[in-house]
Every structure is written in structure tokens, then in C-alpha cells.
Amino acid sequence: MEKLARAHVLICGGTGCSSSGSKEIIPEMRGKLKAKGMEDEIKVVETGCHGLCELGPLVIVYPEGVFYIRVKASDVEEIVENHLIKGRVVDRLLYREPATHATVPDYDDIAFYKKQQRYALVNCGHINPESLEEYIGTDGYEGLAKALSMKPEEVIEEVKKSGLRGRGGGGFPTGTKWQFTRNAVGSKKYVICNADEGDPGAFMDRSVLEGDPHRVLEGMIICGYAVGADEGYIYCRAEYPLAIKRLRGAIGQALESGLLGENILGSGFNFMIHIKEGAGAFVCGEETALIASIEGRRGMPRPRPPFPANSGLWGKPSNINNVETFANVPSIMRDGGDYFASQGTETSKGTKVFALTGKINNTGLAEVPMGITMREIIYDIGGGIPNGKKFKAVQIGGPSGGCLPEQLLDLAVDYESLIRAGAMMGSGGLVVMDETTCMVDVARYFLNFTQDESCGKCTPCREGTKRMLEILNRICEGKGTEEDIPLLESMAQSIKAGSLCALGQTAPNPVLSTLNFFRHEYEAHIRDHKCPAGVCTAFVGYTITEGCRGCGLCKKVCPADAISGEVKAKHIIDPDKCIKCGACQSKCPFKAIEKG
């Protein structure tokens, strides 16, 4: 029996904190404690992601719940000596609120966490993801045990009652989907977990898999029981090695403990889970492409119907949900569907995890109740825009989502409201943009992504996004014409209407939403030959003002030999040679170089 420890030191071992240095902190902490003979007294736990990756590596000390940020291996000694031995909090490592700069010692008081409601992420950052006991210690597998005592139809009823909808983007009611697979004819059925998280900057699913792998397994096993499947596949990107390692470990533990495999918990129900590593194609997040990829074929979508519920993996009825959807299931079973349904809005129940990135103070993961406003997410949780810049737009829904302007900041976030606004829930990517962002350039960026990732099967997506991208490139290069805007709009409609799968059907969204809310920026590029945000280099020029003292620094750093001038005399920039890199401006000690 393990001895009860007087304190727990939780060190984040998520991918973000690992890459910023937590890998060195963990052995350092263990070593220092051992040197002091305190290894039995204080327990060091490597956890999954806490969400506030921007400030990692994160170290949390319980029972107090003190939250240390940007901890380095060299800080460990001080934490041990002062905090763990003398009980004095190390002030300089504490979190500070971006707005007030006040230190916040207690985890629960940090604004980033205060408005969050952690349901799918409840264990992430709090338990050792490699320990089945810790998962069970947080009521893990209780949902499964309860489900196995019910009839499969009752399980589906409970999920229906919860109002849970697909968290991967489509928002299809999960219980109904399960019902379709259950009703499908066939004795062999599959459950597939879509862990092919591919949106740029999104890592919701990765955090769940890394931080609480058993939760996903439990969700899948419950689903298998409900739909009548005995085999499951987790399709996980190979770029998530830690997630795969922890999943493998969790599957092994579950098999050993009778929670997976033959005769689960003595119920007579058999279920096995396999992992299939994906090679990193965005389109493999589309369910039919994903199935093709598991089958060993090129990941390309096929037309539906038939839907996977009737003809999925190897032609058998298959139920596909994404990681976050499955992660919600164990608690729904444990707490009952009604509790889940009491959270959120009329049509969108429960919570949603968002990945906050871009021009925002608290980059990271946040799980919020449906119906929260965009303003609360960006300002209260995200800590607002850094460097005193003005908010311009938030791009939501991944590369196929839309860009929403300031006037929609008070929009209550749910599936329907986002679609109405020209965006979509997607898998929960949220990219914040400030006044220095050019919206034409943003549309171009996302379209470039979808064009690159188009599987190439259907004409509108493969060829159409390319032509739209070429038009956007022309506009950004100052070669846009008046016809370009109506042409973009007409193509966008055809591509949406004509593409085979959701990738193509949504690819034009960033262009349509920026045209809708930021049309004046397109017009400024085309008519006035100006990029209002000063991003598109075609419209940017650098000039040296009267403030120049002739120090020659700019001349020295210019990589294009575009600057000339005698020592102590005003220098000039040759606009034909200038490549607009801005090196001169950043070097000028007298702020005598202007961009315009």
C-alpha cells in the first residue's frame, strides 16, 4: 500500500509543457526530494495538459493549489527549499493576471480557469494519465459499469436525453447516430474514434488523449455496448506520439483489468480496441476518408449515402465519433443525461473545448459551457489582446470556419448561432486577430491550407480553391480588379454547392465571411491600392525621415543594398531595390524610418 503523501507536486507532461522543458523538471524535482529524504512524503505526478500552454512548464502544488508558471529546472531547488520545506510560496513564479499584473497564487482564482467548466477535460492536468488507479479514483469506469447494467437501448436513450452533439464539427446528435448504427442490419459492427485532429493550432483532442486516455476508451466501450459492436478503432495522427503511447498503455491496463477484451466486468460483453496511426492528411478527419485510410486505401472521401452507420469500415455498420464526444460519454452515463442537458443552450448542450491561439494573452485550451459569449472567451478567459492592440476578428471553426468581427463578440456560442453568423463550431479552433491582421491575407492563408489539403478527388474543391487562391494572391499583390469580388463570391457558391465532402463544401467560408464583414479591406486593396493593416508587402514602402542622423546602421543591415547615403547625412531608400523586409526600421536607433 502506497503511503499517503502530505503534498502533491503536479508537473505538466503535456506536449506543450514537455517541449518548453518539463521533461527536465520532473527528474530534477524527484532528485532534489530524494536528496532531502522526502520522496515518500511528497508525491511528484506527471500530468496531462492544463490548458495554459503559453505559460508552461506549469507546476501545481497541492493541497494549496499553488500555480507556478514558466518553471525551469533551476527553479526546482527554490520550490523545494521554500515551498515544500518552509511552506513559503515562491512569489516570482506565480501567475499574474494580464490586465492587473497581480499575482494569483491559487489555481481556482485564475481568471483563465474561473469561467471554465471542465467536463471532458475534468481530469486533464489533475491525474497521472498513465495510472488506471487514478482514473478509477475519479469515478472512472463507473459510467461503463452502469451502462453494462442497462439495456443497450436504454444507454442510447440516456445519450439522446443528454442532447450531446458531435464535437468534431458536424454537430450531429450523438444518440441518434448511435441509434442508426444499432438499427443497421449486420452482426459485425465497429466503433471508430476520430482522433485525426488536423485544424492548424487545434489540440483539444490531443490533450484529452494525453491527459485522460481511459476516458476516451470508456466512452468507446460504452458506445460499443450500445450499438452492438465488438471492435473499435482509434484513428490517431502519427504526429501525436505521446497520445499514442498513453493510449497503448491505457489499452493494456484496461485489458489486464477486465475493462476491455472478453467478458468485460463479467457482463458477457466483449470489446477490443485497436489503434490505427494516420499519416497526417487533413481530409482523413472526414469520416469516409478516415475509413478508407484504416482499410489501407488512399484517404479520400466517398459520396454518402450509404452512411457509415450502414456501410462503414470493411462495409460493416460503423459508428464514428470524435475524441471529445467520446470523452463526454462516461460522465453522461455516470451523472445521467439530464445533468448534461441542464448545461448549455436550447439546442447545444454541455460544454465545448476551444483552442485559443493567435493574438491573445492566454494561448491554450479552455472548456466552456455552450452559450458563453465570444467576448467572455476572448477577454475573461483569454486575457484579451496583447500589447494594447485592438481586436479585429476571431476565426472560429478551423480552416473552413469563418471570421467574425467585433460587433458579434456578444454572440452566444452554439452550433446554430455560429452557422448563422457565417462561421461554424468545427472542432473548436479559435484564432484571435488584432488590428495588425489583414483580412484578405487571412482568407488567403486558410484557403492555401484547404487547397493544399484537398484530396484532389472532386473538381470544385481541387480546381476551384486553387483559382480562388490565385485571385486572392492577385489582390494581395495589388493586381486585383473590380470583377474579382463578384467572381470570388460566385465561385464560393459553386464550390460550396458542388463539392463532394465537407472539406470542399466549407473551404470557401473564410473568403465569404471576410467578404461579408471586411469587404472594405478587399476594396481598399483593389481600389485604393492599400492594405489597411499594412501587411501585404506590395503596398508597403519604407521611407527615411528627417530624423536620420546618417549613422549608417540601416545601410549595413539592408540585405538588398537598397539604402545609400554619406556618413552623418540623411540616407535614402531605393524603392525599386527594397524588398520590404523591415530590417532597417527595426535597427534604426532614431526611429527615423517610416512604413507606409
Binding site: 466517398r302 489539403e453 484532389g456 478527388k457 481541387r462 480546381e463 486553387k466 467572381l487 460566385s490 465561385m491
Partner: protein
Amino acid sequence: MSSVTETTVKLTIDGLEVTAPKSYTILQAARLVGLKIPHLCYHPELAREGNCRVCLVEVEGARSLVASCVYPVGEGMKVRTNTPSVRETRKTVVELMLANHPEDCLFCVKNQHCELQEIAADLGIRRVRFSGEKREAKKDESNPSIVRDPQKCILCTRCVRACSERQGLDIFSSANRGFDSIVEPAFGLGLDEVACSYCGQCTTVCPTAALTEKDDTQSVWDALSDPDKYVVVQTAPSVRIGLGEEFGMASGGIVTGKMVAALRRFGFDKVFDTDFAADLTIMEEGHELLHRLKNGGVLPMMTSCSPGWINFVETLHPEMIPHLSTAKSPQGMFGATVKTYFTEREGVDPSKVVSVSVMPCTAKKWEAKRPQLNDSGYRDVDIVITTREFARMIKQTGIDFLNLPEEEFDDPMGISSGAGQIFGATGGVMEAALRTAYEAYTGKTLSNLDFVGVRGLTGIKETSVDMGDGLVLNVAVAHTLRNAEKLIEKVKAKEADYHFIEIMACPGGCLGGGGQPYPTDADIRMSRINAIYNADAHMKYRKSHENPAIIELYDTWMGKPLGERAHHLLHTHFTPWEGRLK
């Protein structure tokens, strides 16, 4: 519920009520009300992909437009095929294809045979609103049979499916992503470096000029206009069956006399018939079978006339080489005979002879280039053109083909039997061989020449012939390489006790060959088959060994079947992959 309503559904298309089988797609149901929905990737004989997005229609309640070629009909479904959104989107889709396609329609080999061109015209596309990058990819002219021009590819994947579903070869697949997507052989290799059979089925389904036969028409014109050359031509049994279609005739018409007349007008010194050589093949192959039966040779013996099949064996099943009949194909026998027997007889200098063959086949172009086919002391066959190239040549000359007076083949290599004629159909070689082998083995005359058990479009056909003397000859016939593979597996697993197997690489046999007129489908193949057997039934001679020109050839010059001269000129050998033409 009555059984009728169980298997059919009622829907409306453009307000018209349609009752369609439940298994139908919208595109098929639309045909029932006289509506031809434009399409490119859809092909009635291939799996449905729904990738070109030309056949889009509106279905009430659907989130976006749907591809009618893949979307199943449903009870009460309301379909609209002519709304502004449908028209606009279809046009944009075709415009997008054209924006990434060379604008060389006027001098493209598929001009007026191109489905993309036809659809662009039908949809009334008058300009392309986009200009920008076009796919840059090298033309593959690495082999003598098929040219692949990826710049003309619209990625409809018909070739991918035809190669996979008909031949089981999977030479083509999709590669890369986004705008860089391309359909190509593995790793972008040339068709000379992969296990392509050169059957040319891909060229018969390609809607554009991305896959075409290698054009050898200019070499023919060059030879014909060279006063120093003596140019002879042979025409395969299936050419006369398909050629008329190129001039607007319904399929199933036979244009032998007009074909001969046209060739003579081209200026060929002699117009001969491959059917003559087919009779010769039967003499050799039939006797080889009897020889193997009597002397414990390797059985089952397999035919070797189809060069697509030969390529398949040499590349993928070299272990089956001992089963192949060593008899050359009719084209090969003709080539070796014309530059020896014929030139000797007529006093022509064989070095001046250019031997041209008109074939329904792209693989024959490759066959003619096999290093071992030079037993005459020269290249046995110099130039091979397909039925399609031949038709283009006729059009170039301005010959009014349909009104051309009929003419006869030249002697002696223009005389043939019905057995030679049926070589063009799957089962035909088998039937021709049985007519001769039976009579040679038993010494009796066959009362019924029609071996109907080996006729028709069934993929694998089997029959048995009682040869008397306790010998029951078990034979099998397969067309397409996918079916050939099945037979090989059966033979290797010793699941069947065959003596003789006929394989033709193309569906329906040579009459459905890769060089035949566009389009070819099961109905067209069937009418060509009927034409062939109809011609056979009306022939003066119906057995190869009764063809007087064949009798004369053996009596006066060749000696006996399988004799020394025949062995030297009419038989060949096969080599595994390494021996393939590079």
C-alpha cells in the same frame, strides 16, 4: 405492400413522376423520362465515384447539390435538374476543368471524340473566367502502345477503375494532394516500367486525350509514298466489325469490302487478311495441342494470340510460360510468312517490303516490336495501326467511306475461313481450334461446327468435347485479365482438369479491344459478336484446314504443321519480365 412497390420507388424529376427500381441512381432514373444528365466520371460499366461533379442536381432537403450518378433514388424524392444553381454550378465545374486543360482542341487527337469538349459545348460555355497555373507534367511516350498525357487528364479516374475492375492490374492511382493531384502509375513511373499489359482499355474509357493509342499513321503514309517500298497490309478480324461505327454506322455492321477498297485507294501494293493467318495459327496451335496430348506435354495449353495476355504472363505470371502455346499470333505468322513465302512466290525483294497491320489492339503495336519476331530475316511486322487510326486516315483522304464500292482481298493471303473470322470474339479461337483439332484427332467430320458453349459474354466459359478414344477434352475460355487471373489460380490449385484454355485480354475479345472505335459497351460488344458469328455462318469455308490457300501454303512451301519451316517461322518463345522490351 405489393412486391412491385417493394422493388420500385416513385419520385419526381423536374415535376415529372418517375417509377424507378430502388437500386437506381437519379441519373439512371432520369433516363426513364428522356433526360440525359451530363456526366464525365460516370461510366455505365465501372464503379461509381461521383468525383467530376458535372452531373449535379438538386434534391429537395439535401444540404448541397448531389451527384446524380451516385445518389440513390428514394420514395417521394423531389429532384430538379434545371435550376439556376444547377446550371451555374455545372458550368463552373466544367470551366474549372477547362482552366486546367490545354486549349488545343482543334489539333487534339480526340477532337470531336472528346467528352469534355462535348459537355463544354452542350453547357454553352463561351469563356473561361479563370486564368492561372496549369498542371505541368510530362507526356509518357515510353512504350510503343499507349501515350499518357497528364496535362489532358481531368482526374475522372475512369482509367483507374477500368484497369482495376476489368484487368485487375491497378496500373493507375491517384497521387499527391490539392492542385498537385494527379492520376499516374506508381511513383510516376513510365508505362514501360510497370506491369501494364498495353491492352488499351484505359484509352477506351478516357473521356479526353489523356490516354490514347500511340499514333503511327504518319509512318504508314511515309511508307506508302516511298516509291522504293512494296507496302502490304493485313487487317484483323475485328477491324471490319468496328470500323463502320467510326463513320456513323450502327454497331454490328460489317464493312469488309469497303475497308479493302479504302486500303487499296491508299496505295497498298497488296491488301491481305489477318484471317488467313488466323487459319494458319489454328493449324499450328491445333496440332501443338494434339502433340502435347499425345506426348505428355505441359497442359493445359493456353492460347498466345492476345498480346495483352502475353504481357500479363511475362510480367506477373512467368510461371505459366510453359503453358503458353508457342504458336505466334496471327499478326506474327502473317508477318513471317509475307516476307518469305509471299515474296519468294511473287519475286519481290523482301528488304523492300513494309508490312503494315491494322489491329483492334494497342498491345499489337508492342507485339510487333518484340525482338524475337524477326524470323523472316527482317522485322516481321513493321507498322501497326489501330482501327481508330485507320479511320482517321480514311477521313484524311476524303474517301466517302459509306459509299465506297466493295472490293476483294488479294490472293493468296486474303483467302480465309469462318474459323479465322471468329478469332475476333471471346471463345472464337477455341471454337476454331476445336473444329480443326477434332477432325485431325478423330479423322471424322464434325456434324455441327458451332461450339455454342464457348460463345457469348460470360466471363469464364467451360465446355467438354468427346474426342472418342476415351478422351474428353476439357476446355475453358476467359476474357479480361481479371478472369484470366481466376483461371490461372484454378489451374495452379489443380481445381480443374483443363486441356486447353483460351484467353483474350479485352472484354468480349478483340472486338472490344483497346484500339476499337469509341464508345464500347456491353451492347455494342454483343452486336459485334453477333456480326462475327453471322459472317462465319455465311462463309464458304468454315474450318481452317479446309482453306485452300492454307492447304496450298503447306503443300507447296511450308511442309507440315509443326514441321521444320513452320517451327522456324510460325513459333516463338516467351521470356519473363527481364526480357521485356526496354
